[in-house]
Symmetry: C2
Subunit: 318 residues, 2 copies
């Protein structure tokens, strides 16, 4: 494909911005509440604003019974629903009815889901699609609009049916993940970054729908290779080490074989025993202790995207 | 009192080190577990090691039903115990039996209780006594032994009977509070600082009990003046602002009348409307959102302490 070529894509008529999918990730919770309050005063096309897990947000918990953001694979959405189904399983069906059904022509055009992490990752887009040029163009636009915030594009390589997160319900979708921020805390710098990101994202959609041509270019993509768990006690399953001080807060700094990764509670250093230099991220994310993830490792690649423009008459059906 | 004078004080024969009083403050949880593991291998006098709220630590929660570290006033410890008493109320009685009874001749000589905060406070001693020279001498010793960590001595001005925290059960006692660290996360720098602090504290007790004279001197004391809550919505009681970026992480930096303290979620700045310049601390502590505390304010004073030495024959009874 010629990089000068302009690819015509359907307009993005229906956009959803979601927060509080994890109820203790407060930037998104308070941003959605604020946007809902000021909704009437604004002009123009409005996104759908969704507080995804209001009960968890009310209690300032990640979730009530199960992690809502693992409930959106086709299998999870379509399995029989028992009377004793966890709250989040029921809520995932409601959200799928509101924003989906996932994979159907009726699903919204774009879902942007807002998250925080205790890891020092700056602002990350997380998507399941390697070739979603809408997401990549919005990412490039945000990089230009908010140049003082380090931004990365993370790709989890799963087919759409198996993608388990809320943003996978839309025809296009991504999570915006901002850190570091402790869960249960809102820091104004993180909140402001998220607010700016959402405003610029909506601005991009508006420009795109108005016919603006967005130039192609290059995007660095970090593709998940594997997760690494903490060293644990064989009997109790308790962790026996913390992230090494030389790795802590070094998200997206190349980790080489032999670099320190853990420091045991008795003081010994544990080295990275992989054979390939990879880029770590989600280093010491609070919620991943229970998932057995101390950090994730990714490979960086450079993806060329073409120019895009909204097709005047094309409706966004698939 | 002549500052050259050496005050003779009873030996500290029974010392307790407690962690996990809040189950999601992980430096103390993992340090106590580590010290318990290595206990047999060490020589000499051993402190009592207490995982204060094992059930909350198991679930990585601050508490199960009520905040354990508010259960140790004499009123709370001596009120009738119903069958439906919260877990932490029952646990506080067990701990009082183990380390106290509070206010009695049988209580342990020193309780050191380990905590973390999301606030950028470095290492703080928190005590209820303004004139506990044992705590102050240990504080001065730690300042000398760990010079790279900013340390402050915080005083909550309450009579012993009303002091509500676990450390108030001992004849002497203080909390060691280290931050910033997100709750539910252990950072190796925070863990190592706590480990070093405990080791030096026990070293001081050993030297003191061996007859060492500790010179007098000056200690800066930050005495709590008041707590300041977040601006809130009158109806929902939701917070409507975050700590202002110019105040965030500025614990113990003098706050002057007219300085910014909050930034509302719609972007306005709220100024400090007090009439006196005071020192803020516990700025944006996660667990204090529910207690209605955005930050606390303190007045700094300088306290002269005399030299101390253990009395050879004096037992520590009061």
């Amino acid at each position: 494909m010629d990089s000068q070529e302009v690819v015509l894509l359907p307009k993005l008529s229906r956009v959803a911005v979601c927060g509080g999918t994890h109820g203790n990730e407060l930037s998104g919770v308070y941003l959605i509440k604020e946007l809902l309050k000021s909704k009437r005063e604004e002009d123009g096309h409005q996104p759908m604003l969704v507080l995804s897990n209001p009960r968890a947000a009310q209690q300032c918990l990640r979730y009530i019974e199960v992690d809502l953001n693992r409930c959106f694979s086709q299998d999870a959405l379509n399995s029989p629903l028992s009377n004793s189904a966890p709250f989040e399983v029921i809520r995932s069906r409601e959200l799928n009815a509101l924003l989906g059904p996932k994979g159907s022509a009726d699903s919204v055009d774009l879902v942007c889901d807002l998250h925080n992490t205790t890891a020092n990752i700056g602002l990350c887009f997380i998507t399941f699609s390697h070739s979603d040029w809408i997401s990549m163009h919005i990412f490039k636009y945000l990089q230009r609009c908010i140049p003082d915030v380090p931004m990365r594009y993370i790709h989890f390589d799963l087919p759409p049916d198996e993608s388990y997160s809320l943003d996978s319900v839309g025809k296009h979708g991504f999570a915006i993940e901002i850190g570091p921020q402790p869960h249960g805390v809102v820091r104004s710098n993180t909140y402001t970054t998220m607010k700016n990101a959402v405003q610029h994202m909506l601005q991009w959609v508006h420009l795109f729908n108005s016919g603006t041509v967005f130039e192609g270019g290059l995007v660095n993509v970090f593709t998940l290779v594997k997760h690494v768990d903490y060293p644990r006690d064989c009997n109790t399953h308790d962790i026996i080490a913390a992230i090494h001080p030389e790795l802590q807060d070094k998200d997206f700094c190349l980790l080489n074989p032999g670099d320190p990764v853990f420091q045991t509670f008795s003081g010994e250093t544990i080295l990275y025993n992989g054979s390939e230099a990879l880029y770590p991220f989600f280093i010491n994310e609070c919620a991943y202790y229970e998932k057995g993830i101390a950090f994730s490792l990714s490979r960086r690649s450079c993806v060329t995207i073409t120019a895009v423009q909204a097709h005047r008459d094309l409706s966004n059906k698939r």
